[in-house]
Amino acid sequence: MANYNPKLLAMNCSLLAGQLLIENGANMERVNDTMYRIAENAGLHSFQAFTTVTGIVVSAEHQPNAQAVDIRARHNDLSKVARVNEISRQFATKEITLSEMYNQLKRVDKGTPQLSILTQCLGAAVLSLSLMIVFTGDVRDSWAAFIIGGSCYWLYLYLLWKFKVKYMGEFVSSLLIGVLAILTTKLGWTSNLNDIIIGSVMPLVPGVPLTNAARDLVSGNLISGPTRALEAIITAMAIGCAIVIVLRYA
């Protein structure tokens, strides 16, 4: 920090924590709670934060300018949410200083351990298999859900990494799920097309936006709640459209 101003640094810390939390899928009450808590612990007066899903504005007394941050991409990485939570907790108990907190927050994006692609695909495959049995009671065809769910989740991750458009990845991999399910049924390897599709699309379900939309709406956040609900609905529509297209020609 060249021009070290503790008040400004506190505002930046709060802003950075809020940005990390929103980017990685925390609910708005937690975002506001963390930001106000950091400002309170750093001794800022009349701190105000305006948080939306796509950007944050904060201001404090005796500071000439309000600070803003723009949030473009959102993904679901709850380990990072837990890490920010831990750092904020350490700052509250005076274990680390303000500048240490800023440095640690800067390192959250790189320093949080990620699971390998293979582990994630294996997780998606097992999820498809077990949810197919839970939902439909069909054990005989569950091997197909295991293979199709896992491989199509890999396709989703690849498209997300390549094109950075979430909805397209969901659409294309749902399309492939439908095609593969029809193919295995037509070849006579499996008997029930519907159960395989139900199981295999489950890894693509928008769990975090759905939960956050419910909690934000109920807590009275009328900007973030509907926005997150819209995110969940667009994902559901991408999956639904792909399945409609496939079933039309089944």
């Binding site: 609910n27 582990t119 998606a124 999820l127 077990s130 139900i198 419910a214 909690r215 559901a236």
Partner: protein
């Protein structure tokens, strides 16, 4: 019956942990998260199939249970609550019904499709309301006055 419930518990437990893997939750949350998911799912199975509480009531009570248990686990393990309640929800997503809505609309069975659509709306509404009520109950159980007064 016991075997059936044990099987359901294990399957829901595995699903919860796998969804947690996809959401990259911290590793120490796998076991408690899985137990919450499995436990609430067998409670739902008992409420829906044995006690006949009906679709809305079973899902509402299950969502409230998820909220309460998640906050307990969150306080115990010092992690955000979202780490426990998002994976636990995955067994309650009306995936089968949503698929049947789409399928029956495509096939032209509008009556069947609308009846499945009704189920989807009831389940989604009950879970939303259940999370809200769960937050209210949590606030009542662990009331803690807000410390900052300098807003």
């Amino acid at each position: 019956m016991i075997w059936h419930l044990a099987m359901e518990f294990i399957l829901a437990d595995i699903s919860t942990i796998c969804f947690g893997v996809l959401m990259n939750i911290p590793k120490r949350a796998y076991i408690p998260g899985g137990i919450i998911g499995g436990l609430v799912w067998i409670l739902y199975v008992i409420m829906y199939y044995q006690l006949h509480f009906g679709l809305a009531m079973s899902n509402l009570l299950a969502a409230i249970m998820i909220s309460i248990l998640s906050l307990m686990a969150a306080r115990k393990f010092r992690l955000p609550m979202i780490i426990f309640n998002v994976p636990a929800l995955v067994s309650f997503v009306p995936g089968g019904q949503s698929y049947q809505v789409v399928r029956n609309f495509v096939l032209g069975n509008y009556g069947t499709a609308v009846s499945y659509l009704y189920q989807v709306i009831v389940i989604a509404g009950a879970i939303t309301l259940g999370f809200g009520l769960g937050d209210v109950i949590n606030a009542a159980l662990h009331y803690r006055p807000k410390k900052w007064k300098n807003r």
